[in-house]
């Protein structure tokens, strides 16, 4: 087996970038560090297919201690990436979890070494459908194998091995990141000291599969999608992906938040225009969400990742009994949900808690009062942040991580 190659960050990719296509170059040579596992060390996928070579792009924050005992893995959500606490190279925006990660913050980088990889199937430097297929020299497109949440975790295990870390102090993630957290604890029982699955679920519900299918059909209905081979034609299925994002975005909010933030207010006009312009503020907001998303995300990645989420069912994967997923676990869990999250509601988190109780696992469970819907895990929620800080601090003190 060949050894993985680490490619250092900070190389000047700018000059190689075609005009207006910063995203494409992040796929092939990301701004973050990337480790490449070579052709002769393929990743065996749940579908039975082998994937090689495998690139995992990742960011780190803080310093790994000498005992390598202070590492926290951050698992990102569907449209997240490795830039959890650093500036996004395409949008120039701050990291998506800067509220939580940083010096003195709840996930304190003065104390912990934080690793955030781009998931398998992503489009920010880890291997995904936009990456080059070594057999054709062209982007995979639909030749990319269908992947699962478990496959994403197995790919992350490679990275953690590469970094020489035996046991992660914690694995933390929201939404699909929370699904990865659960897979980590189920698959790597001796390697996860603490785990924080946030706004997650042990399986994807029919409603959630339904929303994803709407998004995928929107992408596929765009003539520029070209059966997934749009890269070669110099086009992007912008309209389809944008509609997918608009629909999905509604599911991340709560009705109360939508009503409070937008109501029936009109956008930059005094009266209805009697047209199909974005008269309402909410329309304008969704259109903006859709159009900015296509600038930073790959349409095929969206298809593959939503599919992986649909396939997620930790209960079915463990003989129809969710508790079996956690048999023999030594991990200390802190499960978090939000009251107004109707996409991954509290009852889904309670199913996780009940399964953990059934195997007498060490578990805390907190439901945070919030009107921000599913997106609450990304937003300003002081109670949530205090919970993460308190849980991690107490566990760190117990384990002698000063």
């Amino acid at each position: 087996m060949g050894s993985p190659t680490a490619v250092s960050a900070g190389q000047d990719h700018q000059k190689d970038r075609p005009e207006g296509e910063p995203r494409r170059s992040e796929v092939l040579s990301p701004s973050s560090p990337v480790v490449v596992f070579p052709e002769d060390a393929p990743l065996k996928l749940e579908s039975g297919q082998l994937l090689a070579p495998l690139s995992i792009a990742y960011e780190t924050y803080g310093t790994l201690n000498a005992a390598k005992s202070n590492a926290i893995l951050i698992c990102h959500a569907l449209t997240g990436d490795q830039y959890a606490a650093s500036v996004h190279p395409v949008t120039g925006k701050p990291g998506w979890w800067e509220r939580l990660i940083g010096p003195g913050k709840p996930i304190d980088t003065d104390r912990f070494f934080v690793i955030c990889p781009n998931i398998l199937g992503g489009c920010m430097g880890s291997t995904g459908p936009a990456s080059l297929n070594p057999r054709t020299g062209k982007p995979y497109g639909l030749d990319f194998p269908v992947i699962t949440i478990g496959d994403m975790v197995d790919a992350q295990v490679r990275l953690i091995d590469h970094l020489g870390i035996d046991e992660l102090f914690s694995v933390v993630g929201g939404s699909m990141g929370g699904m990865q957290v659960l897979e980590w604890t189920a698959r790597q029982k001796t390697r996860v000291a603490t785990a924080i699955p946030i706004a997650a679920a042990p399986w994807h519900s029919a409603q959630n599969i339904a929303f994803h299918e709407v998004g995928r059909q929107a992408v596929m209905a765009d003539p520029d999608w070209r059966n997934g081979s749009y890269y070669e034609h110099g086009v992007v299925p912008k309209n389809g992906l944008s509609v997918a994002r608009m629909a999905a975005h509604i599911t991340y909010l709560s009705e109360k938040a939508l009503q409070g933030k937008f109501g029936r207010n009109l956008q930059d006009r005094a009266a209805r225009s009697f047209s199909f312009d974005a008269d309402f503020k909410i329309e304008s907001y969704l259109r903006h969400q859709g159009s900015t998303f296509v600038d930073r995300f790959d349409a095929n990645s969206y298809l593959y990742i939503t599919r992986a989420m649909d396939y997620f069912d930790l209960e079915a994967a463990h003989g129809g009994k969710l508790a079996n997923a956690f048999l023999g676990t030594r991990t200390q869990f802190c499960v978090v949900s939000f009251t107004s999250d109707w996409l991954y509601p509290t009852r889904d988190s309670k199913a996780i808690v009940n399964a953990l109780n059934a195997v007498a696992a060490n578990v805390s469970f907190v439901e945070i009062e919030s009107d921000k819907g599913h997106d609450a895990f990304l937003l300003e929620e002081p109670e949530f942040h205090a919970t993460v800080r308190g849980f991690l601090t107490a566990a760190a003190v117990k384990r002698g991580l000063a």
Partner: protein, 210 residues
């Protein structure tokens, strides 16, 4: 650096008496753990590996923030999910009278823990008896301060009633202490009738009959 906050407040008498019944280094489930005072007391004085269940979201968040393992849940609904003998002790402090189904709750405690430690206000205390006898109204005493329409205590019982329930669920009393609001034991001699008359509250350590 933020440390887990040690418990510094006044200790509740029932907590101190319950803690006396717990062996050092054991595993304890505290059902209705409130702000986690007993769990902290047990961790600090007995090195106990403790877990809690608490109904109030606010109190659960307080516990987790301070480093305790506590889940939001309900004694009536959520105990069924715990496996048999998962803990050395299952503790229920001054809560059984407020559950919907005290018998099932007690059976669950005895199933989950090798021992159950249960404390409750004693409706057989002389002041309660006197209040009912003399006023002809539901007793309102320092120990039971809420009027009948506002209290959450749907299933109040006397010490003798509780002992009957213990036999009904096929358990036996390992230790029993009746005490007043200051935590003083009443009476020191082990007479059930005197305990029932003079104890404002009681703590029982129970185990299943084998």
């Amino acid at each position: 650096m933020q440390k887990a906050v040690p418990f510094t407040g006044e200790q509740r008498a029932d907590h101190l008496l319950s803690a006396e019944m717990v062996a050092p280094g054991s595993r304890v489930l505290d059902v209705g753990c409130g702000d986690g005072a007993l769990l902290k007391l047990l961790a600090e004085t007995k090195g106990v590996d403790g877990r809690g269940v608490e109904l109030s979201r606010e109190k659960v968040n307080m516990c987790v923030k301070s480093g305790l393992s506590v889940i939001q849940g309900d004694a009536d609904r959520d105990l069924a999910d715990y496996p048999d003998q998962a803990f050395d002790y299952a503790v229920l402090s001054l809560t059984i009278q407020a559950t919907r189904d005290p018998k099932t709750v007690l059976e669950n405690l005895l199933r989950i823990g090798r021992f159950a430690i249960v404390s409750f206000p004693n409706f057989g205390h002389w002041r309660v008896r006197a209040a009912l006898l003399l006023t002809g109204r539901m007793p309102v005493t320092p120990n039971l301060p809420e009027p009948w329409y506002a209290t959450a205590d749907a299933h109040l019982c006397t010490i003798k009633d509780f002992v009957d329930l213990v036999s009904l669920v096929d358990a036996e009393v390992e230790a029993a202490v009746a005490f007043n609001s200051k935590g003083q034991r009443r009476p020191s001699k082990n007479s059930l009738s005197l305990q029932n008359l003079l104890g404002e509250k009681a703590v029982f350590k129970l185990k299943r009959r084998t």
